[in-house]
Assembly symmetry: C2
Homo-oligomer: 265 residues x 2
């Protein structure tokens, strides 16, 4: 039963995440003329698409790597590398998204970083950079002691979730800001809720729902990789990992990883 629930959630997440990206692309194509890379308004249109794709959806996928039951057995390094690589890709898309809006502002002679949306957004990207370097240096490079890693892990996990929350707050205030701009001089203003406003508002709420589901799976659900040796309420079951090292599996979580264990034994 647990396995079914898990993969149902993964399916829901993948569809919701794809919808967030597709809604944003459609918004920019249908109401704002599509995309270009020439400093014009069409270049700005990459900003919302790349931020939602990088800072929200890909970031979330990278964060959830450790929730896959496959990552609970066997060596950790491949999963750590995948976690870091996906976050790096998310970061690169985010930087491209920032470049798009800065270039547009340069061309249109608009001052940079004046709105609260931009203050929050740039702070979020800065925290993301710090989080990546801390994660890479402490958890991927081999020098850090187990003591240091266990000390920093709750902080790393907390900032991982917080950065996602700040990214969602930035997306919401960004969509809000964009609609005020684009509907200011139009025939129908934002307050008359033209179709663009309804569509973009729905895209914003979709991002919020997607974010809550990711945060739930990250923080509240029991699909966390069991800490080796941690005694928990349920008696741990000792199993043999690939490299012969004993892997400790919790009774409840065993159901999720069962298919993998059978393949191995």
């Amino acid at each position: 039963m647990a396995v079914g629930w898990f993969y149902l959630s993964v399916l829901a997440l993948c569809s919701l995440g794809s919808m967030c990206i597709l809604f944003t692309i459609y918004w920019m194509r249908y109401w704002h003329g599509g995309f270009a890379w020439d400093g014009s308004m069409l270049m700005f249109n990459w900003h919302p698409v790349l931020m939602v794709t990088g800072m929200v959806v890909l970031y979330s996928a990278a964060s959830l790597v450790y929730r896959l039951p496959q990552s609970w057995v066997g060596p950790r390094l491949p999963w750590k590398s995948g976690h870091a690589a996906m976050h790096l890709l998310a970061f690169l898309l985010t930087v491209l998204g920032l470049h798009a809006v800065f270039e547009f502002h340069n061309h249109a002679k608009i001052p940079h970083l004046y709105s609260l949306h931009s203050w929050l957004g740039i702070t979020t990207v800065f925290l993301f950079a710090c989080q990546w370097f801390l994660g890479f240096s402490v958890f991927l490079l081999p020098w850090a002691s187990m003591w240091l890693r266990s000390l920093l892990k709750p902080i790393h996990v907390f900032f991982g979730a917080s950065i996602l929350s700040l990214a969602i707050a930035s997306v919401v205030s960004g969509i809000n800001e964009k609609l005020f701009f684009s509907l200011k001089n139009g025939t129908k203003t934002y307050s008359n809720l033209p179709s663009e406003a309804v569509f973009a508002n729905c895209a914003g709420m979709l991002v919020v729902v997607f974010g809550l589901l990711v945060l739930y799976i990250l923080l509240a659900s029991s699909w966390k990789r069991p800490e080796p040796g941690m005694q928990a309420e349920r008696e741990p079951t000792r199993t043999r990992g690939r490299a012969g090292t004993p892997e400790v599996m919790l009774e409840g979580e065993r159901g999720l990883a069962e298919p993998l264990l059978q393949k191995r034994s």
Copy 2:
């Protein structure tokens, strides 16, 4: 040492929370003419103040009741009642804050609930109402079984933190929206960063920092009330609660509650 850290954080939270409220009051008084309850723009000015006070600061204080070491020993009912009462007060302030903006919109013939800020805000208040009723009926009224309570507790805690995150995202997009409105026809537009924009942006970032500190204490810190009977890494120390029932105290947390235990034994 742990006790010092804890009360230092409480001090930081109280000051940050008060600053969030004072900044918002000052913003509305100095740049927007102060307050009234007559449907005019001055009535709108109550909206940001009451939402920050109710939905963010008082909500956070109510959520942190269980992090006070005093709440770890002795009967739970007084602390539960305090938790529920403070949240109810936060909810009443929030409803008043909504009334202020709806009344202003009625008088000024502005449509209601068209912006993404308002969609997110009304969703957050709705979730807050559901959370309060679920909490009251399951955790305060005596009928619910221990099984049901332990099943719903992680969900209650998760939505408690999520509602705070959504409230902060609403505050950020609300400040952003208000500045676009109020600086639209002014001598200096938002993009020229007049003093009001700098001040209000700082108020918004202050709310974000306050929220992150609250979320850290709620989710990541070890100041959680130890679950009775839960075996944790550190050996639990059996102590005698007031009503003679054995209270299980974790070695680490014992340091925090030490002063109280001495008073009782």
